[in-house]
Amino acid sequence: MSLPPNSTIDDASGPGAHARSASPTSDPPAPSWWAQRSGENSRGGTSLGLGLVTLYLSFLVLIPLGAVVWKSQSNGWSTFWHQVTTPEAWDALKLTLTISAGVALFNLVMGTIIAWVLVRDDFPGKGAVELFIDLPFALPTIVAGVVLLSLYGPRSPAHVNIAFTRTAITVALLFVTLPFVVRTVQPVLIELDRDMEAASASLGASPFLIARRIILPNLVPAMLTGTGLAFARAIGEFGSVSLLSGNLPFHTEVSAVNIYNQIQSDNPVGAAAQSTVLLVIAFIVLFALDRLKRWGVHRG
């Protein structure tokens, strides 16, 4: 299960994602003079805690990630570039990025629709749907693969067999990124000021127009966040994709699989190089989205 960044416990259901652009820690909690007090009496405690936390973060996350980047250029930048652009690796990268982008956009649309239906509609069994939307978050990726394989694999009772095809990659990624947009958009939808819609209706706007010009614009930051998170998740997905797609080089092999192969074939530099590319792309996307949202907030 993964929570998108900056999640806060909220009225949206499920271990969910949120569109709030400010994390709970971005502002002092109360009027300035209360916040000041906190440092007053335990400077030492703060330093100790900070030291331990930094140590843990460094040894678990920062140093290892730094090692990846370092390793990727340890034989020089030309080697780095060479490793990233080998026919197989390059193909895998292109495949990964295009399918991930497509999947993210598709789930943007579907996710928004699902969020809408969950918030504005009512039907028997809605509670169950609400709860199990998060299943892709909770399910181990290989189990997701098994799940999809059982219905859409070689022994599918519906005779739909997508194993070893690119469709398999698409389906797997759709599955694992399903909840992202739903969970970022839903809380925003819930808190949306109904009076806006009422006002525009009283001014003669049709429901469709209201949706398009009143509701949707307010959802855009949340939609962007969800899509970005979905994309970042998709480009790195391994378990479900590798099970379903058969990992055929030049056909159904994604970057994560290729990286794995490089590790197994004792090519750490190649693996590190591709990993660095994926990391950079993910960070750029998330960073760009954060900027976009801030800009949107200022305008809105």
């Binding site: 709970p24 239906v117 299943l135 098994v146 059982s150 009772p157 429901p207 994560a256």
Partner: protein
């Protein structure tokens, strides 16, 4: 006005879209539910059907082989260790981020979320590069006879990496919302920092903490990609349940793979239910 725009329905809900356009409402509903059915519900149902096709017996025997049992054991050890580490880290970091100010606070906030953006394979690679035999600290580790990569400690690290932010992000918002007045009051009444933490802070974040732990545990139990890279894949020794599924599939033992898959699916669903309950409880206290 009320009937024209559908505002102020008798049940108190405001339906702007859809009241006058049932086609739109049913259309959206159909699309949403249809998608969920095809992508989510049907495949999951299929897995359960396949697994329970011949009753509970085959599942039970598949899961009680010694390999399966050791996989369960390894999974529990690795997951619980990772969760313990991340809980301590999580509570400490949440306290720091919410109750203290220091240079770099925003940076810490951002860093905590990094694991979200990293592919699990890259996680495994990163850990090998540092803690593997030929890694940065590899020689020092070798000399001291510790084995990290290809054995359980490495798997704990990998699992801890991927579930790092979960406890922090569950606890921090509740801490922020509660405010620190109760803690201030405790101090004026003579409580030391530790007493204040133990008697005031911890009880008030109890539900949020439980929620974070459940999320963390579920994530840790289900990690595959990162663990597959750092594990030695030694049957009976360093296979978690997820790796076990992989191994069984490779050996064409579908029943065993499906049994383990279903077990993990049930655990995932259970954790969703439990965490939902904990979330609503933690909201009502704050």
């Amino acid at each position: 006005m009320a009937s024209a725009s559908g505002i102020g329905g008798s049940d108190g809900t405001v339906q702007v879209c859809g009241d006058r356009r049932p086609v739109a409402r049913y259309g959206l509903r159909f699309v949403a539910l249809g998608y969920l059915l095809v992508l989510l519900a049907a495949p999951v149902a299929m897995v359960f059907y396949r697994a329970f096709q011949h009753g509970l017996g085959p599942i039970w025997s598949a899961l009680t082989t010694s390999e399966a049992r050791s996989a369960i054991e390894v999974t529990l050890i690795v997951a619980i260790s990772a969760v313990v580490l991340n809980t301590i880290f999580g509570v400490g970091t949440a306290l720091l981020l919410v109750r203290r100010r220091f240079p770099g606070r925003h940076l810490l906030d951002v860093l905590v979320d990094i694991p979200q953006a990293v592919s699990p394979i890259v996680v495994g690679l990163a850990l090998i590069l540092v803690y593997g035999k030929f890694g940065f600290f590899g020689s020092w580790i070798e000399r001291n006879g510790i084995k990290l990569i290809f054995s359980l400690p490495g798997m704990v690290l990998a699992t801890a990496f991927v579930s790092l932010p979960l406890v922090v992000r569950s606890v921090a918002p509740v801490l922020a919302e509660l405010g620190d007045e109760q803690e201030q009051a405790a101090r004026t009444l003579g409580a030391s920092s530790w007493q204040t933490f133990r008697r005031i802070t911890l009880p008030s974040i109890r539900d949020a903490l439980a929620y974070g732990v459940v999320l963390s545990l579920a994530r840790s139990l289900g990690e595959y990609g990162a663990v597959t890279v750092v594990s030695g894949h030694v049957l009976g020794k360093t296979l978690t349940l997820t790796l076990f599924i992989d191994e069984r599939l490779e050996n064409f033992d579908q029943p065993a793979a499906y049994s383990a898959a279903v077990l993990l699916a049930i655990i995932a669903m259970g954790s969703l239910l439990i965490s939902r309950r904990l979330r609503t409880r933690s909201r009502s206290v704050a």
